[in-house]
């Protein structure tokens, strides 16, 4: 299927571009919007962003490889980010992550995002999510969940 950005999204991004005196500044916001729409950042999305912002594709590509939130392949429908950092580790986030990996047949030793073959879930170990008082913290798509027990962790998988 040919890469195509819906007119409404393009209009939204054109408006965003006006927020900055220098177009290049808008590139992170473009990548967020494109990732939200397409699920990941494809080479076509990089080329499109570069064209829109008068950049070389490499200027956009180097952002995709630098910022951990950008993905170059489709992820699962439900994205589970388990916080790895100290306060959450003290509260047992390692066990949470192992639990998810075991249940979903993923490798608990890998920190990078791993997706189940059926494309339903992606599990990732991420750094501090700035909610350490509610450790252990898990982010499910856009939503944070705090003080996550193993039972609560399972509920994420059955919803």
């Amino acid at each position: 299927m040919a890469f195509s950005v819906p007119a409404s999204l393009e209009a939204e991004l054109d408006e965003l571009t006006t927020h900055y005196p220098v177009k290049r500044s808008a590139s992170l916001m473009y990548l967020h919007a494109l990732q939200e729409h397409f699920g990941f950042i494809s080479p076509e999305a990089i080329a499109w962003t570069a064209r829109k912002l008068d950049l070389q594709p490499i200027n956009v590509y180097e952002l995709v490889t630098f910022y951990p939130m950008f993905r170059q392949e489709p992820l699962g429908k439900t994205q589970i980010k388990v916080c790895r950092t100290l306060s959450c580790a003290l509260a047992g986030s390692g066990a949470l992550r192992d639990h998810y990996c075991k249940k979903l047949g993923l490798d608990p030793h890998k920190h990078v995002p791993q997706t189940t073959p059926d494309g339903k879930y992606t599990v990732e170990f991420v750094e501090c999510l700035a909610d350490c008082g509610n450790a252990p913290v898990v982010m499910v798509n856009d939503d944070l969940r705090g003080k996550v027990s193993l039972a609560e962790a399972d509920r994420v998988l059955t919803q």
């Binding site: 200027n59 910022y67 790895r84 100290l86 501090c128």
Partner: protein, 469 residues
């Protein structure tokens, strides 16, 4: 008993409070902005005249407000460094990256009381002749970004933002910019590069001080969310009253994030220096003490980058006596007032106001391995000592904590950390080195014992191996 003092979070945490404009206005919202815009010029004793904007800048200086993002630098002084003669536009950026591990206080303001931040920003922008400002919010706060955008729309509709604000002929736009998951975007020059649409590679200072060569090489102010929110209160209550809160040189209130091994982790607002570390950890009003049967082992007092403090440590602090003379007094760890100067005098820092408590069930080796992995992951990679050193620290602590280390690893870790600090473009180098230096120096026996045990185990297994032959 020590208590919280709610100023910045007074409304946010009151029952039924919502983040919309209507609720904010009902709670006296945007009155401080009206007051600021109506500021009269001020005559100084030396015959000089301050413009209304200069009056606000002067008031912020007089309030004693110190940056809440990490370094605790005087906000008024920072503003006074802005190059106002360059003819270039001046930008203001609110640092809402909140990425220092252990910190979760800006999140409270951003999500629950966005208008308070916006009001503080509009006042700060007006006082500094800023026409365009940004809120750089970390990528993992998508709801926060939506809430801010909604609040900005409401502020525009009410004439608190946009063209000709409240009819005084002042124009200002504020936009939300989202990060994308890199800790280094919290460092102000990395943040600026990121806002320019590049990798968040920090810039070297000098020459790239934001106040002179910041965003688009124009003078730029970068302030933390909590710092900008405090500006609203300084205007509202006046700098003298604001400075009465807290303690001398450590004025106002501060949001403290408490996590780790306490009964009641959470965030608290205190008058700076009016509550001690021990009260924050143990009082029923705050952390509620350690878990049953546990004793304190160590405290990380100001975010993961701050140097760890060991239970039982006693620090020499300078105090002004009743007679005005400075004397040196011994202050035990738990009696340290939680403020900028006391924590610094104790050899650490209050940093981002994040306290992580460790009890006697914790291995310092494992704890440091966790932190070092964070820094290895987050180094931006520009400077060799940081990029390579942070990785070596992570590998060294990892092998120690996995029973594969050596006794000399303690020394090896110190050596690496010493060769990172002071040799890098940005303060991330120190942030990666300080935990290592302090953990290993203060808990050396534990690190060496881990290494020695691993060596002994290896020796046993090789001699067992020879036996079989």
């Amino acid at each position: 008993m020590a208590e919280q003092f709610k100023l910045v979070l007074k409304n946010a945490d009151s029952p039924g409070y919502t983040p919309d404009m209507e609720c904010y206005l009902k709670h006296g919202g945007y009155q401080a902005l009206r007051k600021a815009l109506a500021t009269a010029p001020r005559d100084l004793p030396d015959g000089k005249k301050l413009s209304p904007q200069e009056v606000i800048r002067d008031d912020v200086k007089a309030s004693g407000l110190r940056g809440r993002g990490g370094a605790g630098f005087s906000a008024g002084l920072k503003w006074s460094f802005v190059d106002r003669r360059s003819g270039k536009p001046i930008y203001l950026i609110c640092n809402a990256d909140e990425s220092e591990p252990g910190t979760f206080k800006d999140r409270q303001i951003l999500h629950k009381d966005p208008h308070q931040l916006i009001e503080g920003m509009v006042i700060s922008c007006w006082a500094n002749d800023v026409k365009l400002a940004y809120i750089y919010i970390r990528g993992e706060m998508p709801h926060g970004a939506r809430i801010l955008n909604q609040a900005l729309r409401e502020a525009r509709a009410k004439g608190f933002l946009g063209k000709n604000i409240l009819g005084v002929g002042y124009d200002l736009e504020i936009h939300v910019h989202r990060g994308a998951g890199a800790y280094i975007c919290g460092e102000e020059t990395g943040l600026i590069e990121s806002l320019e649409g590049k990798r968040a590679y920090p810039r070297i200072k000098p020459p790239y001080f934001p106040a002179v060569l910041g965003l688009y090489m124009c003078p730029t102010i970068v302030n933390n969310v909590e710092t900008l929110a405090a500006v609203k209160h300084i205007v509202e209550m006046g700098p003298v009253n604001y400075a009465k809160l807290g303690t001398p040189n450590n004025t106002g209130t501060r949001l403290v994030s408490l996590s780790g091994d306490v009964q009641k982790p959470g965030y608290f607002e205190i008058e700076v220096g009016k509550v001690t570390l021990g009260q924050l950890i143990n009082d029923a009003n705050f952390g509620g003490g350690l878990k049953p049967g546990r004793t304190l082992k160590a405290v990380i007092p100001g975010g993961s980058s701050s140097k760890v403090l060991k239970a039982g440590e006693v620090f020499k602090l300078k105090r002004k006596g009743a007679d005005g003379q400075m004397t040196t007094v011994d202050v035990p760890l738990l009696d340290l007032p939680y403020d900028f100067d006391s924590l610094q005098a104790a050899g650490s820092m209050s940093g981002s106001g994040a306290i992580i408590v460790l009890d006697d069930s914790r291995s310092m080796v494992e704890t440091l391995a966790n932190l070092s992995e964070f820094y290895a992951h987050e180094s931006c990679g520009q400077c060799t000592p940081c990029r390579e050193g942070a990785l070596w620290l992570a590998k060294g602590t990892h092998r120690l904590s996995h029973g594969e280390g050596r006794k000399v690893d303690a020394e090896y870790l110190l050596h690496i950390a010493q060769n990172i600090q002071g040799r890098t473009i940005c303060a991330f180098g120190e942030a990666a080195a300080w935990p290592v230096l302090s953990f290993v120096k203060k808990f050396r026996e534990e690190f060496e014992a881990h290494g020695a045990a691993a060596e002994a185990a290896r020796k046993n297994s090789t001699s067992a191996g020879t036996h079989q032959h």
